[in-house]
C-alpha cells in the first residue's frame, strides 16, 4: 500500500489538528482501504455503516484492514478492542484513540 505513507506524515506534522479533523482524515483513509478491498463506492460508507452486517466484511478482511491500519498509523490494535467494533465510526474512534494515546 504505497500511497498510504502520507496520512502518518500528515498526523505527525500537524499535531495541532483537532479531534474532528483527525477523525475525518482517518475516515478518509479507511474509506479508501474499504473501497479498494470490497470494490464498493465511497458513498456507500458512512460512519454509522455496520462493518459486518452492511459491508459483509469477513474475519480475514477485517484483519487485512487491521494490519494495514496498524502499519499506516504505527499502532497496535488488540483483539479485545476489535471485539467491540461494530461500525466504521467505531474503527475511526479506535484508531484515533490508539494513535493519540501516549506509548506505554
Amino acid at each position: 500500500m504505497g500511497d498510504n505513507g502520507d496520512p502518518r506524515e500528515r498526523m505527525n506534522d500537524d499535531v495541532s489538528l483537532d479531534e474532528p479533523k483527525m477523525k475525518d482524515l482517518i475516515l478518509d483513509d479507511l474509506i479508501k482501504m474499504l473501497t479498494d478491498m470490497l470494490e464498493i463506492s465511497p458513498t456507500d460508507i458512512r460512519p454509522d455503516t455496520m462493518i459486518f452486517e452492511e459491508l459483509d466484511l469477513d474475519s480475514l478482511q477485517l484483519y487485512e484492514l487491521v494490519v494495514d491500519l496498524e502499519e499506516v498509523y504505527s499502532i497496535r490494535m488488540p483483539d479485545e478492542d476489535l471485539d467491540a467494533v461494530k461500525t466504521v465510526g467505531d474503527v475511526v474512534d479506535l484508531v484515533f484513540r490508539l494513535s493519540t494515546q501516549p506509548e506505554k
Partner: protein, 170 residues
C-alpha cells in the same frame, strides 16, 4: 490407579491431542492451508510486530537455530516471512512477517482466544477464576516436571539412571 487418577490422566492426554488436531483441521480448511501447525507456531513466535533475531526466535520455540533456518527458508519461499540485515550491525539477520504472515498470525491468535472464550463462557465469573487457578496449578506442576529434564545432559543422565534402575530390578 484410582478412578479419578485414571480419568485425569486420560483427560490430560486427550486435551493435548485434540487441541493439536483441532488446530490442524482448522488450518487445513482455512485461508492458510499451505501452512503446517509447526509453521504457524513459528510465525507466532516471530509475532506480528518488531523484527526478531534468529536466536531469540529459536530460543522461544525451544529449537536450534539450524532447525529454525530450514523452517524460515520454507516460510520465506511461501511468502510469509522476510529476512533483513540489521541496519546498525550487518552481521545480524532479522526476520519479520509479511502482510500475509501477519494475517495468518492474527487469525491463529484469534482461533486460540475464541476456543478459550467458548470454554469459559458457561461459567460464572467466580467459577472462571477458580478454573483458571486450577488449570494454572496443573500447568505449573507439569512445567516443574519438565525442568527436571531440561538440557540434553540431564536428559541423558535421567535416561541412564532409569536404565540402571531397570537393570537392577531384573
Amino acid at each position: 490407579m484410582r478412578a479419578e487418577e485414571a480419568q485425569l490422566s486420560e483427560l490430560l492426554v486427550r486435551i493435548y491431542e485434540n487441541v493439536l488436531l483441532t488446530e490442524e483441521q482448522a488450518l487445513s480448511k482455512g485461508y492458510f492451508s499451505d501452512l503446517s501447525n509447526a509453521e504457524m507456531h513459528t510465525l507466532d513466535a516471530i509475532g506480528p510486530y518488531e523484527a526478531r533475531t534468529m536466536t531469540e526466535t529459536a530460543t522461544d520455540l525451544g529449537i536450534t537455530t539450524g532447525t529454525l533456518t530450514v523452517a524460515i527458508d520454507r516460510l520465506v519461499k511461501k511468502g510469509y516471512v522476510v529476512r533483513k540485515r540489521d541496519e546498525a550491525d550487518r552481521r545480524i539477520v532479522r526476520i519479520s512477517l509479511t502482510k500475509n504472515g501477519k494475517l495468518a498470525c492474527r487469525i491463529h491468535t484469534k482461533f486460540h482466544t475464541v476456543l478459550a472464550k467458548r470454554i469459559l463462557e458457561p461459567y460464572s465469573p467466580e467459577d472462571q477464576e477458580k478454573l483458571i487457578k486450577m488449570v494454572s496449578e496443573i500447568d505449573d506442576y507439569i512445567a516443574s516436571q519438565l525442568k527436571r529434564y531440561s538440557g540434553s545432559d540431564s536428559i541423558r543422565k535421567t535416561a541412564k539412571k532409569v536404565a540402571e534402575e531397570g537393570r537392577r530390578r531384573e
